[in-house]
Symmetry: C2
Subunit: 188 residues, 2 copies
DNA sequence: GATATTTTTTGACTTTAGTCAAAACTTTTC
DNA sequence: GAAAAGTTTTGACTAAAGTCAAAAAATATC
C-alpha cells in the first residue's frame, strides 16, 4: 500500500516522527470504492477519517424535499463530516463518491490513540480542523459576497474537471442556484 | 467582579473543578467598553477571548469597497475571531461593540496555561470550537437554502432587539442583500 | 432647539434568477 | 443498437433583488 501521498499531505502540515508514521501506517485501511457509493449516510455517526488517494467525492444534505451540495473534494484531500466526526453525533450530511475512488482511512478510536501516544500529533489535528473551519467560513463568504457566475468561476478554478464528475444539478445546488440558471450561465 | 454568568456558560458545557475555576478567575479581566469600540482590527492577531456579560457586538470585513457583517453576538456569548485566535495569524475581520458593553476576557497565553494545567479543560475548548464551527456551517446553509426574507426572520428570532442595536445597512450586509431591499422587506 | 449629519424609505427602472414545460441530448440497459 | 432513463438546454413568462436618485425621518451636534 502506497502511503506517500497521505504522508506528504500530513508532513506538509508538520513533520511527523518515523515512530508515529509507522504506528499510523499500521492503522490505515485502503479500499477501492466504486462510483456512487455512500461513505456516510445522514443520521449515522461518522467514524472514519478518509484520505482521497484517487477520485472525487461530494457531500450533500436535504432541506425539505430539496437536496443541497455542501462541498466537493478531490485527490489529496482529507474528507470527514467535521461536525459528526468530532462531536460523535449523527451527521446531517451524506458523503458519496462521484467516481471510482481509492481511499485510505483510519477510525476515530485510532486517531484518539495517536493523539494520546504522540501529543505533538494534536497540532496536526488542530491545523486540519482549522483548515476545515476556514473552508466553511470561505463558503459563507462566497455566498455572501459573490454573484452566481463568480461562484461558478471560482469552483471551476478549484476543480477544473468538475463538469466531468458532477452533474449540472449537483453543481447548481452547491452554488445555491437552479440548474436552468447554471445552464444559461454556462451558455455564455 | 461577578463571574457567575461566565461560569454558568462554561459549566453548562462541562462542569469545571473549583481548582480550575479559581485559577481561571485570577486571569479574568473585566472592562466597561463604550459603544463603537473596535475590539479587534483587521490585520491584527486576536489575542484575547471575550465573554459578553452585557452588550451587543458585531464582526465585519471588507471585500473591495464593500463592508460585510459576519455575525452579531449578544449577552452570554463568547466572542473571538476563531481563525485568528487559534492560528495566531492576522485577522481578516474586525469586531466592534454596537452598544456599551461589559466584557470579561483572558489572553491566549492564559488559555494555553489552563489547557496545560487542567487537561480536562481541553474538552471545553474543543466543544466551544465545535459550536463555532457549527455556527459557521449554519451561516453557509442559511445563505444557500433560505430567501432573504427567511434569513431576516431567522435573525430576528435569534436577536429580537437587533433593530435597536444595529443599523439597517449593517443588518443588510449580514443577510447578503442591499439595504433598500431590506427596507422593502420590512415594510411588508 | 435649529442645523447638520446619518439613516431609512420610496419611486422608477434594470438586471438577475426562478418557474414550468417541452425539446434535445447523453448514457445506460437489455 | 433501440428503448428507456437520466441530464441538459431552450423558451416564454414571473418574481426577486439591484441600481440610482431623491425625499423623509431620525439622531447627533453646537
Amino acid at each position: 500500500m502506497d502511503l506517500s501521498p497521505l504522508f506528504n499531505t500530513l508532513n506538509n502540515i508538520q513533520i511527523l516522527s518515523t515512530d508515529l508514521q509507522s504506528r499510523f501506517a499500521e492503522f490505515v485501511v485502503e479500499e477501492q470504492v466504486p462510483k456512487k457509493t455512500i461513505l456516510l449516510k445522514a443520521g449515522m455517526v461518522a467514524h472514519r477519517i478518509y484520505f482521497i488517494k484517487k477520485g472525487f467525492v461530494r457531500a450533500f444534505y436535504y432541506k425539505g424535499d430539496n437536496q443541497f451540495t455542501s462541498w466537493f473534494m478531490g485527490q489529496g484531500e482529507i474528507i470527514i463530516s467535521v461536525y459528526s466526526f468530532f462531536s460523535r453525533k449523527p451527521s446531517f450530511e451524506n458523503i458519496e463518491t462521484l467516481e471510482d475512488c481509492t481511499l485510505q482511512s483510519i477510525s476515530w478510536e485510532q486517531l484518539q490513540e495517536l493523539y494520546a501516544t504522540y501529543p505533538k500529533f494534536n497540532i496536526t489535528g488542530r491545523i486540519i480542523t482549522e483548515q476545515y473551519y476556514i473552508r466553511s467560513e470561505e463558503r459563507a463568504i462566497n455566498l455572501q459576497t459573490l454573484t452566481a457566475t463568480q461562484r461558478y468561476e471560482k469552483l471551476l478554478a478549484e476543480y477544473p474537471q468538475i463538469a466531468q464528475m458532477a452533474t449540472l444539478g449537483q453543481i447548481a445546488t452547491y452554488l445555491g442556484i437552479k440548474q436552468e440558471t447554471l445552464s444559461r450561465i454556462r451558455a455564455r
